[in-house]
């Protein structure tokens, strides 16, 4: 058996078995959905980071773009509501504008990296600084609340079933207090996985994906085969920035208020997810579903520890250890299906 490739899956299973035995109440539909619900941030940021890492780059700014987007989206929506717009159009327009503006940090760092040859680490850190500064300035006078509709969506479920009213989509049926209701698949998980599915398709089956791998595998070869490398690099950083903004919008839908450092602590998690998923920081390797696997390992760890009542401090230690082990295992059992051109 090729241990080098399947260790992450094995680890995931071991983790599941461990928490099922050790954490009372872990093995339940509610906790299982919780893993995905709170995991959405790491799923999306992990995939954002994956595209960048495949090209051999890194994006430090994603965490603070999350915060930035969470703040500007609530600002926009509040502004539109003030002008007398009704809730749904205000919400949609606000989200649309946020996603559009959210492309900017990626555009700038992409241009810096592609045209001016600024190292990705520096370019994206400067964008981190700028987005962080701007978002703190925007909430100097306090953050604004998102309308109730958005919070309902952010914390709602795709499918409800209750004995009386039966099945219903999106709308929670009225049931007597304490009555039984089955809530299935949180809305934001649906949104995240639709996006992730599209991205996986893009990476695997489209020219966009081919170019991404090609650039990371060998830049010179990519240039010689006629790929517009600098243009593609800019697109990659814009994609990453876009996904981070989407995460910010989801954040504000979950938590009502925007926060400048909303995603700050997720940088380690998202890069760890990518590396645990078998990608190499030297570029050219990695897939979306393996990254999701890596992110799931972290999400289960976090939820499992929470259910056990252990403070999540241990999470950082364990993630650090898994992160290092992931690279070590890849060194000890090199993956023969890929060509490591740069190591």
């Amino acid at each position: 058996m090729d241990l080098g490739r399947s260790w992450a899956l094995i680890f995931l299973i071991v983790e599941l078995v461990f928490f099922s035995l050790a954490a009372k109440g872990f093995l339940s539909l509610r906790v299982f959905q919780m893993v995905f619900f709170f995991g959405v941030t790491v799923f999306l940021l992990g995939v954002a980071e994956l595209f960048v890492i495949i090209t051999g780059g890194i994006d430090l700014s994603v965490g603070y773009i999350v915060g930035f987007a969470s703040i500007i989206s609530s600002r926009f929506v509040a502004l539109f509501l003030q002008t007398g717009m009704s809730t749904l159009p205000a919400l949609l327009l606000g989200i649309f504008l946020t996603l559009a503006i959210g492309l900017l940090p990626g555009l700038v760092s992409g241009l810096l990296i592609a045209k001016l040859r600024v190292p990705p680490f520096i370019a994206t850190f400067s964008m981190l600084g700028i987005t962080h500064g701007v978002s703190e300035l925007l909430i100097l006078n306090g953050a604004v609340n998102m309308p109730k509709l958005s919070t309902l969506f952010g914390n709602g479920y795709f499918l409800y079933w209750a004995p009386g009213p039966g099945l219903s989509l999106f709308v929670r049926p009225e049931i007597p207090r304490g009555g039984f209701i089955l809530e299935l698949i949180p809305n934001i998980v649906v949104v995240a996985f639709v996006v992730i599915g599209i991205l996986s398709f893009m990476l695997k089956r489209t020219v966009f994906g081919q170019y991404t791998y090609a650039i990371g595998g060998n830049v010179d070869a990519a240039i010689r085969s006629g790929i517009n490398v600098s243009r593609h690099t800019v697109k990659i950083y814009m994609l990453s920035s876009f996904l981070a903004s989407l995460t910010g919008i989801i954040y504000v839908m979950m938590y009502v208020k925007g926060k400048g450092d909303a995603g700050a602590s997720n940088l380690l998690d998202s890069i760890a997810a990518v590396v645990i998923g078998g990608a190499s920081l030297y570029g050219g390797k990695g897939t979306v579903w393996r990254t999701i696997l890596g992110a799931l390992i972290i999400a289960i760890l976090e939820t499992g520890l929470r259910v056990m009542g252990i403070p999540t401090f241990d999470k950082y230690i364990i993630v650090g250890i898994i992160l290092i082990s992931a690279v070590l295992i890849d060194k000890i059992f090199p993956d023969k299906t890929y060509m490591d051109t740069k190591e």
Binding site: I58, L60, L112, L116, R117, V118, P119, F121, I122, A123, F125, S126, M127, L128, G129, I130, H132, G133, V134, E136, L137, L140, D261, A264, S265, L268, I271, A272, V275, L281, Y282, P311, F313, D314, K315, Y316, I317, I318, V319, G320, I321, L323, I324, V327, L328, K331, E343
Partner: protein, 345 residues
């Protein structure tokens, strides 16, 4: 032109100093400059640690959290010994705390150094792993709260000055005159904080190490061209391990200073980004992430550029959050200048 480009950070610093002297009341004063220096001590230590690592074309993301680990651990040890009483004077408990923590702070660097040198783990990942581990351990030790109730003498040393002058009233050394309470400290002109002596000595040692010793030569050699360094007979692996241990050790020192400065053991919050600001200062100071370039002096200029910018904006009544934006812009300038004048150094 090339001279200005090479020293742009120093010229920028000069420009800011002149600008803020006009816009900020009280900016141009000994007290303010001492305060800026005192508050920049940790950033200076972090940046000099990062300088060594970056010259070898590596990066150390763990230093901010190694510092938090060191601060919290030192605080905890001193707290326990101090509370135990039983003939252990505050001085001894502090000394024991410092020694233990300095030894412990070698470990993260040793681990990431071995991973990087021996197992070829990318520095980014190895030190990011140590970031998680040291942060988790620090939070476990302090349970998420700062470690308080430490001897009061800590802050007296950490924030003390060598010279105290009462205008028209005489001069006293090392502490306020006997019998004068802390409440009247504002009547005194205070000169030369102890922290300047502390950081000055460390900088002198590190500067000498990098500039005048074989250790420094090897550091530049590895960053310039690792293969050539191997062929020239340098034990690159061993040297890399030493570099990461050094970086971790300096972060440990910063953590201890942090205890003296604040009087409590502090864990490092995520938003602090000590390591990223340190990398920025080093790059603004003229180093390249590709390795082979950089100096302690340049990095210190980089730190002061950020520190004075922040202080000047604050005194001029600008919201401090512009600091983040300013650092971002400075970084871009740094790298663009580096691209435009590639043959420097």
């Amino acid at each position: 032109m090339a001279f200005i480009a090479r020293n742009w950070a120093a010229f920028f610093l000069l420009g800011f100093l002149i600008l803020f002297s006009f816009t900020g009341k009280g900016f141009l004063s000994v007290t303010n400059f001492q305060n800026v220096g005192h508050l920049a001590v940790i950033a200076i230590l972090m940046a000099s640690a990062e300088t060594f690592v970056i010259i070898t074309s590596g990066i150390d993301l763990s230093i901010g959290f190694v510092m938090g680990f060191s601060s919290v651990t030192a605080g905890k040890i001193i707290q326990i010994l101090y509370a135990a009483g039983g003939g252990i004077s505050p001085g001894i408990s502090i000394a024991i705390g410092i020694v233990i923590v300095l030894i412990l702070s070698l470990i993260p660097g040793l681990v990431s150094g071995v991973l990087i040198a021996r197992y070829k783990v990318p520095p980014f990942i190895a030190t990011m792993g140590m970031w998680g581990i040291t942060n988790g351990i620090a939070l476990k030790i302090c349970k998420g709260f700062p470690v308080a109730t430490l001897p009061e003498v800590l802050t007296r040393i950490g924030n003390g000055y060598i010279i105290y002058i009462k205008p028209g009233g005489g001069i006293s050394f090392f502490s306020l005159p006997h019998g004068v309470g802390n409440e009247s400290i504002r009547e005194y002109i205070r000169l030369i904080p102890y922290s300047f002596i502390f950081v000055g000595l460390i900088l002198l040692v590190l500067w000498h190490l990098l500039r005048n010793t074989t250790f420094g030569q090897h550091t530049y050699a590895i960053g310039g061209n690792e293969e050539a360094a191997v062929r020239a007979g340098i034990n690159v692996k061993l040297h890399l391990v030493k570099i990461y241990i050094l970086s971790s050790f300096i972060a440990g020192l910063a953590g201890i200073f942090n205890v003296f400065q604040t009087g409590i053991g502090n864990f490092t919050p995520f938003g602090a980004m000590y390591e990223l600001f340190a990398v920025s200062a080093v790059v603004i100071g003229g180093a390249s992430l590709m390795g082979g370039k950089g100096s302690i002096f340049g990095s210190v200029i980089g730190v002061f550029l950020i520190a004075f910018l922040e202080n000047g904006l604050l005194i001029s009544g600008v919201v401090p959050f512009y600091r983040f934006i300013a650092v971002g812009l400075l970084l871009i300038i740094a790298v663009v200048i580096d691209q435009l004048f590639p043959d420097l150094l």
